[in-house]
């Protein structure tokens, strides 16, 4: 009986200790970080809400954990932050509108580079081919003309 009461007191004590203060929940599931990775840290540059140690991102992760516990889906949680911060909060720009330009820019850049390289190689190959087609007589004639030019 006494042991039972002691165990109960210990459990209640631990439970109370969990709720005291404003510390973040000790164990956040990997799913929390998966979702946080998709959100920007509002006070950092180039960091997601999963990587940052800023106070606001700690709270974001805590809210994500709470919403997951309430049974909300990933899309609903992300929408919750978009409703408050606009699409600026998305770590990756959306694949539409101006965001699409950001996504396509590397592909377009690579395409333009490839086109330039192709055009350069084609021109070089054509010149080489033209030179191959010059006969010995023609070469002798050009050389003679050059020599004449140097003499005068």
């Amino acid at each position: 009986m006494r042991r039972g009461l002691l165990a109960l007191a210990l459990v209640l004590g631990l439970a109370a200790a969990q709720t005291v203060g404003n510390e973040p929940p000790p164990d956040l599931s990997p799913q929390v970080f998966e979702i946080a990775k998709k959100l920007r840290c509002p006070v950092c540059r180039g960091e997601s809400a999963a990587e940052s140690n800023a106070g606001v991102t700690e709270e974001m992760r805590r809210q994500i954990a709470e919403m997951l516990a309430e049974g909300k889906s990933e899309d609903e949680i992300i929408q919750y932050f978009v409703d408050r911060y606009t699409e600026w909060i998305l770590y990756e720009p959306p694949k539409r509108g101006l965001g699409l330009v950001v996504w396509l820019a590397p592909v377009i850049g690579l395409g333009l580079f490839g086109l330039g390289l192709y055009s350069y190689l084609k021109t070089t190959a054509r010149r080489a081919k033209e030179l191959e087609g010059v006969s010995d007589e023609e070469l002798a004639r050009v050389e003679a003309e050059l020599e004449e030019g140097e003499a005068t």
């Binding site: 509002p42 106070g55 709270e59 974001m60 809210q63 978009v82 911060y85 606009t86």
Partner: protein
């Protein structure tokens, strides 16, 4: 033709780099996602020094739709921005207290440090305590200090990120006054 194309390309790349360097503080220029929408209500504990005059808690719901509100997010660790704007907020509150409610939201701070801050500036408008910074996220706050203007019908009309000066605060107050 080829030379012209090269020049155009070089100028375009240069312009892009220059534009990239111009985006200095994008957060202060971002519009609030709440602009024109009802202000999120909250019910938070007041800092101890305000409890005698305002009660233990402040429920914003009781004021939304009845009176314009200037909502200011701050923290004692936010130096120097929060320290610069605190006397400006207090002076404006003293001037407009009959017509506008000022509410300070102490964010992710410690009570004793927050109390030292309000004592240092003699802040007489109510200041609530939000240790988790939950309300800040509800308002889409990027970082302290940030100030929101809420109209008499309870809609968010404007947001200012960073330390607010007297001129900007005055403009915000005029915007929310009926």
């Amino acid at each position: 033709m080829r030379t012209l194309l090269g020049i155009v390309l070089a100028v375009a790349i240069g312009a892009l780099l220059w534009w990239g360097m111009q985006t200095k503080d994008e957060r202060s220029e971002l519009p609030s996602a709440l602009a024109g929408r009802p202000a999120p209500a909250f019910d938070l504990e007041l800092l101890p020094s305000y409890q005698e005059a305002w009660g233990e808690r402040l429920d914003l719901e009781e004021y939304l739709g009845r009176k314009p509100v200037i909502l200011n997010f701050w923290a004692s660790w936010c130096y120097p921005a929060c320290y610069e704007e605190a006397p400006i907020l207090e002076a404006a509150w003293r001037r407009y207290r009959d017509r506008v409610l000022f509410v300070g939201v102490n964010t992710q701070d410690e009570v004793d440090k927050a109390e030292r801050f309000v004592a240092q500036f003699g802040l007489s408008f109510p200041n609530v305590y939000d240790p988790r910074g939950k309300v800040g996220i509800d308002y889409g706050m990027y970082g302290v200090p940030e100030t929101f203007a809420i109209s008499a019908d309870g809609r968010v009309l404007g947001r200012h990120a960073g330390s607010i000066d007297a001129e900007k605060l005055e403009a915000m107050i005029r915007e929310v006054l009926p």
